[in-house]
């Protein structure tokens, strides 16, 4: 009974602390979309938006745009403001047609391609899609090669981010056998904590993004350690079954995800630094310096983690426990300590992945959950329980996801990655790099 009480208080304090930590950073943010009449909370915050300028850098004001569904049903209108920006909120994800009313353009300003006054776009769940109506001279049509290069780059970048987030997932499985369905929420947690630290005072603390990110990683790592000490360790001590613990991770993920929605709201929001960047062209590749730096940081992090696993005592211990828990235990490794370390490091990395993803895209309470299945795909592709497998699998998943958009609808980009997952489970459940399991 005493043990039960301990777990109970641990869980309660943990959840409360998490919520309080978030809540203390900010007053409740913008209200989330109202829950649907039944149980079915829809994901929200879809938007199309953009900034119009005349090609020489001056904003275009008073231009009218309208958004309809592909069937012609009106969704909304907008008029560009004095900074040239416009935005239309959408009822939900899907395909939309955005039309720019050329008659409202100032004299002398014309679309670069007069045919392109109407754009068809598909918007993902929670996505805020920025549309470009180019005016003035210049510009080149991008070739297949260019699109492939760009997609491959985004794919690698996305893959690196997934890898960082997924290492913890894989190591936690390797050392404890637990499939952590709440791992996505650790990712979100990092991104959101960084957002609140980064947001200007009033909402947040106005800390520069790099410092904010670093602090967020530490806080997420602490949360991971707290979850291990407060929840999993007592549960393991009580000999709770793995499947039972797996269902507990589900509960934890719901509690954290919607707890964060309460605090952060349902919309997607960008960080406050490094938002406006000019693309630079390197050969076929056109990228922003921000994306380039994110990729470099991500790659460096992975190299760092790999070195740590390879060289340091604790890293070797982690791999040993992952490899064969009993053997490691009998050869004198303090497994409990290693597991704690895995949780701290795994959660920290997850939080870091969240921050990076938030920089590249936007911060949303579903950010991590959307990555979760891709992380699973990555981890299984590489072989559950191995850190290097997760890295390798993540790059494949990232590439598949992004390159598919060159050939197929963007709406389906995650579908391909999930297909890869199912195919791998079919032909090689131990993963591409994993070993076959011992039978009976």
């Amino acid at each position: 009974m005493a043990a039960s009480l301990r777990v109970l208080t641990s869980i309660a304090t943990l959840l409360l602390a998490t919520l309080a930590m978030l809540a203390s950073l900010v007053a409740p943010a913008a209200a989330a979309s109202d829950p649907a009449p039944t149980l079915l909370a829809q994901e929200g915050g879809e938007q199309v938006r953009g900034t119009l300028n005349d090609g020489e850098g001056d904003p275009l004001e008073g231009v009218q745009l309208s958004v309809t569904t592909p069937d012609g049903e009106a969704v909304g209108d907008a008029t560009s403001g004095d900074d040239g920006t416009w935005a239309v909120d959408l009822p939900g994800p899907g395909d939309y047609v955005v039309t720019l009313d050329t008659s409202t353009l100032p004299d002398g300003v014309e679309l670069r391609d007069p045919e392109r006054d109407t754009l068809e776009v598909s918007v993902n769940t929670g996505q805020q899609r920025t549309l470009l109506f180019p005016f003035g001279e210049g510009g080149q049509v991008s070739s297949l090669g260019q699109r492939l290069t760009t997609a491959a780059f985004s794919g690698v970048q996305f893959g690196l981010i997934i890898a960082i987030a997924a290492i913890g997932l894989s190591l936690i499985f390797g050392t404890t056998g637990l499939v952590n369905f709440a791992h996505g929420e650790l990712v979100t947690f990092g991104a959101i904590v960084a957002w609140f630290l980064n947001a200007p005072s009033g909402t947040g603390l106005g800390v520069q993004l790099i410092i904010a990110g670093a602090i967020a990683v530490v806080i997420t790592a602490l949360l991971g350690g707290g979850i291990e000490l407060g929840l999993w360790r007592p549960l393991r001590r009580r000999r709770t079954g793995l499947i039972q613990m797996l269902v507990i991770t589900i509960g934890l993920s719901l509690a954290l995800r919607f707890g964060m929605q309460i605090v952060f709201g349902g919309s997607s929001r960008p960080y406050f630094d490094y938002t406006i960047q000019q693309r630079i062209s390197i050969g076929w590749l056109a990228i922003t310096p921000r994306d380039l730096i994110v990729s470099l940081i991500a790659a460096a992090t992975l190299v760092g983690v790999a070195t740590m696993l390879q060289r340091t005592r604790i890293g070797k211990a982690m791999r040993a426990v992952s490899d064969n828990r009993d053997l490691a235990e009998s050869s004198g490794i303090d497994v409990q300590r290693v597991v704690l370390f895995v949780w701290v490091m795994g959660a920290g990395l997850a939080g870091f992945g969240g921050v990076l993803n938030g920089v590249v895209e936007n911060v949303n309470y579903l950010l991590g959950f959307r990555l979760l299945l891709l992380m699973f795909a990555a981890v299984i592709l590489g072989g559950l329980g191995t850190a290097y497998g997760a890295m390798f699998g993540a790059i494949v998943v990232g590439l598949v996801t992004e390159i598919s958009t060159v050939f197929f609808s963007t709406e389906l980009k995650f579908v391909w990655a999930l297909f890869v997952l199912i195919i791998i489970l079919l032909v090689r459940p131990q993963g591409l790099l994993g070993r076959k399991e011992r039978i009976g």
Binding site: D95, T240, L421, L426
Partner: protein, 328 residues
């Protein structure tokens, strides 16, 4: 006092309403999967989706009678079970969980995508009356209750809700009877043995794969029926109603009532919706938070509930503590 009655009234209303029926059915399906066979199906919502769309597409888009739609919904969930089961039933429990949740998400993405829009209505889904009579027309025509409100005191139902409730719970009772017959039979015994140790069952000459497949289909069809019930009671469906968390609600319902018990999913659903609705009403009345955060609060509450249940009362309300001690 009035406040308390309002809160309780909301709870009771919700507990016996069609939504509780939907989740009772989905959870009975999960009980066959997880409770009795040990299959960790995390994609029950996928079965609900194909059931609902099978019905809606057949009746509203292809303009077939309702009964054809119901058969289509059942066939669609059977087909999904076969497609999903063939590759994944040989996998370990946790792999099965991941691939089923992935399959359900694939379905949702595909059903809301533009290529599928002519059949599925894309992100907006299919309201009952797209073309022809729609999937609620026959249903409403069959309603023997004249228009009006029925009930006593604070517990009143509109005639459509009453109709859906009565038919829904009758179906639930029928399903409970079938599951009870199955699980007390030697067939049910084989399922339970697979849950305990499939190698042991194999060593005794049981075709484990075939039994798992049968269980997957049975539970999947129950999920499909839940989806159809959802479509009919709402008179509309959209793909984003079928988010992964629905499966987890159904798990919460199941575990709350007691997995591997006959009445567990039913009692669980009643209790779950009673709690959800009364907590929501209490939050609204007490005015402690902006209305926009009530939705997520409710969902976070479900999560905490699931954690606490699993940690402290994994056998649920009706389960056998003696059996639970042995788990793991």
């Amino acid at each position: 006092m009035d406040v308390l009655i309002t809160i309780l009234a909301d709870g009771v209303n919700s507990a016996i309403g069609p939504t509780a029926v939907v989740f009772a059915l989905a959870a009975i399906g999960l009980n066959v999967h997880y409770g009795y066979t040990g299959l960790l199906n995390f994609g029950q919502v996928g079965f609900m989706l194909v059931g609902a769309y099978g019905l809606a597409i057949t009746v509203s888009i292809w303009e077939q009678p309702l009964w054809v739609g119901v058969i289509a919904g059942i066939l669609a969930s059977t087909l999904l079970a076969l497609l999903l089961g063939l590759p994944t039933l040989r996998l370990r429990a946790d792999y099965l969980a991941i691939s089923t949740i992935a399959a359900a998400e694939i379905l949702r993405f595909v059903f809301r995508s533009s290529p599928a829009t002519p059949f599925t209505g894309g992100p907006f889904g299919i309201p009952s009356q797209v073309g022809g009579s729609g999937y609620t027309q026959t249903w409403n025509a069959l309603n023997p209750f004249p228009q009006g409100r029925y009930g006593i005191g604070w517990l009143t139902f509109s005639h459509t809700r009453l109709w859906a409730t009565i038919v829904g719970w009758s179906i639930v009772l029928l399903v409970v009877l079938v599951v009870w017959l199955l699980m007390r039979s030697p067939w049910g015994r084989v399922l339970k043995s697979i849950r305990e140790d499939e190698d042991a069952a194999r060593a005794l000459g049981k075709n484990v794969f075939a039994y798992k497949m049968q269980a997957l289909i049975l539970g999947g069809v129950l999920g499909g029926m839940a989806g159809m019930m959802l479509a009919i009671s709402q008179a509309a469906i959209a793909p984003d109603q079928f988010l992964p968390q629905l499966t987890f609600f159904a798990y919460t319902v199941l575990i709350m009532g007691g997995a591997a018990t006959i009445w567990g999913p039913v009692v669980g659903s009643l209790l779950f919706w009673f709690l959800i609705a009364s907590v929501e009403r209490a939050l609204i009345i007490s005015d402690v938070m902006p209305s926009g955060t009530i939705g997520p609060t409710r969902l976070a509450f479900v999560g905490i509930l699931l954690v606490l249940l699993m940690a402290f009362r994994p056998q649920g309300l009706l389960g056998n503590k003696r059996e639970m001690v042995l788990d793991g």
